[in-house]
Symmetry: C2
Subunit: 275 residues, 2 copies
Amino acid sequence: MMKNTAPIGIFDSGIGGLTVVKKLLSFLPNESIIYFGDTARVPYGSKSDDTVIDYTRQDINFLISKNVKLIVAACNTASSVALDKLRKSYKIPIIGMIEPGAESALKRTKNGRIGVIGTYATVSKKAYSKEIHRRNREIEVFEKACPLFVPLAEEGWLKHKATYLIAEEYLAELRELRIDTLILGCTHYPLLSEVIQEVIGQGVSLIDSGTASSSFVKNELDKLAQHSPHAAKSFHEYYVSDLPAKFKHVSEQFLGQPIENLQKIELDYIISLNQ
Amino acid sequence: MMKNTAPIGIFDSGIGGLTVVKKLLSFLPNESIIYFGDTARVPYGSKSDDTVIDYTRQDINFLISKNVKLIVAACNTASSVALDKLRKSYKIPIIGMIEPGAESALKRTKNGRIGVIGTYATVSKKAYSKEIHRRNREIEVFEKACPLFVPLAEEGWLKHKATYLIAEEYLAELRELRIDTLILGCTHYPLLSEVIQEVIGQGVSLIDSGTASSSFVKNELDKLAQHSPHAAKSFHEYYVSDLPAKFKHVSEQFLGQPIENLQKIELDYIISLNQ
């Protein structure tokens, strides 16, 4: 069986993708990771499609320049807007958030009623609905924007009374719609999963993009026989395009451990990279 | 007395500056307004100083291309980072948020204890503290970041129970510090002034940048004899660099009236403008 010790590349518009790294590391502990968070240009959700495609191409080129063997787009906006268009220009496998999330939800639902929560940008694009309906037109999908969840997660108010009240307000409608599966369509939301689970009800399965995409990554590495061998020394490197004062503190909460090997990369350098 | 029917130009990184327009229109109802919201590149607070200076220069050049007679930088980040550096390159008067806010607070405080609330970016730059201390070193200034206030204002949750809880958490410290004056150091915050006033206590004077800067604008127009005459037909034009689906709805809440004459301007065009 072939082996490949090259790292997996993961990018996001900011720090949310660190929840995907966390899941990936627990799922595939032998793998090395190169993370890029485009914190200078966050959020992607409010930008035009053309801009998001440009930025995503630059993010991918940066990771390729680091000799990664596979790329995870740990950003719902980049996944829904740019990946279909960019994949054909690259030989390297690129895994987004939408397909794994949709597929996991379809496997899990019993009553065919799936909820999706995300930012306004993600929900207005209806990427999860389209992906689910491409596979099964019978499923009912209900999308709901929960814009306060991102700043609540970044504030670290993971079980604050205000967080419960806000979750009550956002999720009441989905509860009434009797969904049995809920896709967390934003990489920030796993931090709030305890509150979300409690409010939406224990009977509803939560689909976390990190877990869903990690199993896609594993399958892809299986298929290509590119897993890192057990004995290999793994490394984790983190790059950001800007380093706000609060980054380190917040990012540790997302990753679940302190971040080491964190470097700022100049945007000019990222923009200058070509495939 | 000389008169000038040219419009006043106002810019912000997004929609927050509309609360300043609202105050300006009620204060100087004869004046015409050209507003530019750089919604494609919001927020400025997370960008480097050089980037904020570049963007601010472009925003100013765009307004100058519209033949405005005076410019209001209705953005705390642009005001604190860029104006000192840019003012000397322009003949046109440019009024920011920091000086008017600081001056109003100094006039209002009796016990010499002033609070400032704003985003993480604004508070970490301590622009209000510096401006206040430049005028009076004896004053005690306490700055506190309230990052959830922006998304709460944009959600329109202006009197939600969650908003009260969040305000309680943010403002408890300032209440204990016995401030008698509180600067709303973010143009979004006037939407939450009722909750903020109730939580901080009726004895504390709130300083709203819109009101404070409007009186600076009036003084400047007095000085230059550039007021628009009563009989002139005023007009209000709004430009944004991107138009998210929710813009119209949210912006009306900020402005207090429906927005007419709203146009999207391509960023490429903005960037191409030179003084």
